[in-house]
């Protein structure tokens, strides 16, 4: 920091004390030459103490602040850059001509502000391009090259502004504290007598401008030397069309110079000179092209009536609210519009197969589907289709008989009998054939040989419907057989009862049989004794006394069950339950005192006497009862011993 300030001090000291060598002297320059140098600095970096740049170089340099107070608290990198005074010194080429890319920085703002060596102080109101505004006070200072002013008193300046902004060109304010300076030895620009050189103008400064570049030629007359556009007369003010793709642009010729360009196309118009005189905008609605004379008349556009006048002007002429703008059929452009719905001439086209309405002044012919006559006497039901008459089916000669050949001859039907196979349309016949103009076939067989069905054919399918009534099931031991659900069901068995109680009656092959046999024995209680009865005994009952402690219950002594196996030992042991009932699930009695069929119990052992009808003798029954009781008591005693 201190070193930098010391360097700055040295810079100021040198500027104040150093006298340029006597031989150094600026060359005369024009203001334009100064500006040409000045503008090359734009984009280069600010370089405190720097003063060299190379126009066109891509490396512009970089200034980086190292403190808050601006340079000299900054660093610079890159080969090019300048500070404000280095820049102006180079643009002014003081105090001697020096290449821009060669470092030379002889003056600071202190010099430019406080001295007048190769520059002079001028009034601020007299400042021109290439002059400078400078300020220096209290060690701070700035200088910039003036280019031009603006309406507010701001100025366009070239300047190396500072570390952050670099060397720039732009509008800026100028404090009233700045002073104006002008370089000495400013050369007045060369002078020429204005004249034409071919297509080029040469002005008083000897600057040459080729008019051909702007499609013009050089003209020298009482108005001076100037470019005159090929579109313009040399003098006077008039409007002309200018070429463009859309034919809409125009401009004003002012003594040969094109000014104030405009575009008719923005309003949907052509630029045209077809009417003679200066160019005018004519509506594209009123003329087909820029070279077409506009047509007067009305037209419709977006429902509005627009009126073209003879000059191509376009104005809206509203139609009454209830009569909207309508375009005449087949027409467009001017003269095509009317207010309200336009009428039609006779729209009938003589075609019965079209409807012929008038829509907005236009006849329309709409195909219909009306009946019509195609002119053929043998067709009937002719109908319109696609605007033409389509023949209907042949006039009604078809008699529907496949065994006749039908024809229409001169509007009369003929029917000629045919032979051969045919189809009578009945699926329940077969082998249909024509005979004498009639189609018939043989019935299809459907008998199923079941006496209990009614057989028939329906739509070619055999069906059997169950019937009622008597039938024969083929079993001679039944009588009164009858049909049920399509099958013959056996009737009642033929009666073979011979009236004998103890014979077994039967029927075999339609004949009755009679054989002897037992009847079941029934047991019941009579008091404390068991009463046994058998039909075969003629209803005689036998009483069997029971022990005193086991009176008869349910037809048994003590009401207890007994195991028939005790009488007819089975192949295995029977098991009793704790309550003594039989394990086979047979009922133990209903306790009602009614008789229990003993044969039911006996039959449950599987080896009973069902086929045998032999009656037990009285002694055997008694023995059976007693043996059963004894065995039962023994078994119960054993169960108690085992704690069951």
């Amino acid at each position: 920091m201190i070193a930098k300030r010391l360097a700055f001090l040295l810079l100021v000291a040198m500027a104040l004390t150093w006298t340029p060598p006597a031989l150094a002297k600026p060359e005369p320059m024009t203001r334009d030459a100064v500006m040409a140098l000045g503008k090359t600095v734009v984009g280069f970096s600010y370089w405190w103490g720097g003063a060299k740049w190379q126009p066109g170089a891509t490396a512009k340099g970089t200034c980086t602040p190292t403190g808050a107070d601006g340079c000299p608290d900054c660093t610079h990198s890159g080969p090019w850059g300048a500070d404000c005074s280095g820049f102006v010194g180079k643009a002014w080429q003081v105090d001697k001509p020096t290449a821009l890319d060669t470092y030379y920085h002889p003056y600071s703002t202190a010099n430019f502000t406080n001295q007048e060596t190769w520059w002079s102080k001028i009034a601020k109101g007299d400042v021109q391009k290439a002059d400078a505004f400078t300020y220096n006070k209290n060690g701070a200072g700035h200088i910039f090259l003036y280019h031009k002013g603006d309406p507010w008193g701001s100025v366009y300046a070239y300047e190396c502004k500072g570390c952050a902004s670099g060397c720039v060109y732009g509008l800026r304010s100028v404090s009233a504290d700045y002073g104006a300076r002008q370089r000495k030895l400013l050369q007045t620009a060369a002078t020429c007598q204005p004249h034409c050189e071919g297509t080029a103008t040469v002005d008083a400064k000897c600057d040459k401008v080729d008019c051909a570049a702007s499609a013009a030629s050089c003209v020298a007359d009482s108005l001076g030397v100037r470019c005159v556009s090929s579109l313009c007369p040399a003098t006077g003010v008039t409007q002309v069309c200018t070429p463009d793709e859309k034919g809409g642009t125009f401009a004003t010729c002012d003594n040969g110079s094109l000014k104030d360009p405009g575009d008719c196309g923005a309003y949907g118009a052509w630029c045209s000179t077809v009417l003679g005189g200066p160019a005018t905008c004519i509506s594209a609605f009123c003329a087909a092209s820029p070279s077409t004379v506009p047509t007067a008349g009305d037209l419709c556009f977006q429902g509005k009536r627009l009126r073209c006048d003879a000059k191509g002007g376009l104005t809206e002429v509203p139609c009454p609210p209830d009569q909207p703008c309508s375009q005449l059929p087949g027409q467009s452009g001017p003269g095509s519009a009317v207010c309200g719905v336009p009428a039609c001439a006779d729209c009938n086209d003589g075609n019965p197969c079209t409807d012929d309405p008038c829509v907005n002044g236009t006849c329309q012919h709409v195909p219909n589907a009306a009946p019509c006559d195609d002119g053929n006497p043998c067709s009937a039901g002719d109908m319109c289709a696609n605007s033409g008459c389509l023949a209907g089916p042949s006039f009604g000669c078809d008699d529907g008989n496949p065994c006749t050949s039908d024809a229409c001859l001169g509007g009369q039907c003929t029917h000629v009998a045919q032979t051969g196979s045919c189809n009578d349309g009945n699926a329940c016949t077969y082998a249909d054939a024509c005979a004498d103009g009639v189609c018939a076939g043989a019935p299809k067989p459907c008998d199923d040989a079941n006496p209990c069905t009614s057989d028939s054919c329906q739509d070619g399918t055999c069906t059997a419907i169950a019937t009622d009534g008597a039938c024969d099931d083929g079993d001679g031991c039944t009588v009164g057989d009858s049909c049920f659900a399509g099958a013959c069901t056996a009737g009642a068995a033929q009666s073979c009862d011979d009236g004998e109680t103890c014979t077994q009656d039967g029927c075999e092959d339609g004949a009755c049989t009679h054989s002897g046999g037992d009847q079941p024995i029934k047991a019941s209680c009579v008091g404390s004794a068991v009463q046994l009865t058998s039909p075969c005994t003629g209803g005689e009952a036998k009483l069997l006394p029971c022990p005193e402690d086991s009176p008869c219950k349910f037809g048994l002594c003590g009401g207890l069950s007994f195991d028939p196996n005790d009488f007819f030992p089975p192949s295995g042991d029977a098991t009793t339950t704790t309550d003594g009932s039989l394990r086979d699930g047979l009922p133990t009695g209903d306790g009602g005192g009614s008789g229990v069929p003993v044969n039911a119990l006996v039959a449950s052992n599987g080896a009973g006497c069902s086929a045998s009808h032999s009656a037990l003798p009285d002694g055997a029954l008694l023995l059976l009862a007693l043996a059963g009781l004894t065995r039962l008591l023994r078994r119960r005693a054993g169960m108690r011993r085992h704690g069951v």
Partner: protein, 377 residues
Amino acid sequence: MAAPAFGTRRLHWVLALVTGLALASCQPRASVPSQTPPTTNVGAPAASVHGPSATPTLGPGAATIAAKPTPALASQGAWHRSWVADLPWGAAPGQAGRRWAAEQNPEAPMALDVAPDGAVWLLDQVNGRVQRLRVATDGGVTQLGSVQVSATSQDLALTPTDGLWLLDRFVSKSARLVDAATGVTRADVALSGSGIAEPGAVSALWQRGDGLWVEVEHATLVRVSNSAGVPDPVRPLLPGRVAPGGQRAVKALRVPPNRVVLQALALPHRPQTAPKWVADLKLPLPIWAIADVSFDATGRTWVVVDLARFVPGEDAPVERGRMAVAVDATGREVQRLTLCPPIGPEEQFRTARIGGDGALYSMCRGESGLRIERWAP
């Protein structure tokens, strides 16, 4: 940093000695004003600076003009100065950065804008920030916030959506839209294309209801984007500065020695309704530059002009001033205000304007700080 090529180290010592003697025998050398190093104040707590204790003083040879109103405008009219805030030079909250240095452009705050709530947004680009300030009627300044911005910013404009446009003509060559609270960039709109011959020609930013307009050469407005920063492909143009509501446009022309002319223009989309008038305003001192043209809530057009009178042979003016003149909707002058004049070499960009609250704000520089004045009915 590159030092000038002055020869050998021995020569430097000799020159330094000679220079020191020369300076000692001539005049005292003024030093560059000291400055507090800038600091970043994003998110810093609000700080208050009460004033006006540091009234700017005039530089040598300069004097504030006395008001020279016309008899019809004997008073400052219905407008009065509602507060004066003096911000010392420095980098602390509520202070303003100034940079004077050798061989470079001297700078101080270049622009300000004022929100509808009266908060002053000060472009303190030397400190790389925009300060949001609240000024009390006694001149007390409270920094409400601060966002970091580029040191090459030159103008600013507030948006209705908490955005802040910043003009950087020379480095980014863009109008940058940042979040007014955080400084985060939302969009960058290039200062180029149709209507803008070059970035350096831009003379102001205008945030209008339909987008961002940049002013070129104090003469033409070009809409370059919508309010969100989406570039405008149409680039419509408007002449001059446009009054709120688009009733008219006004162009200002500096006419030396002592006149300013305001010209009301028809806008292209309202050719029939816009008033057409010219106000030729005579000023009590030679006009130096026009500082601002803007519009208040009653439809008045205000022009702020900097005035300076010189004598031959002197660079600094012998008399200077700043004046605001208002004309009504018909171009008739209705108000004049004498404002504090800018002193010093610093470049300024937008140092006066009608704020979003309808008051007139003007700032001027002095030896010890920056003064901001508020004028209101």
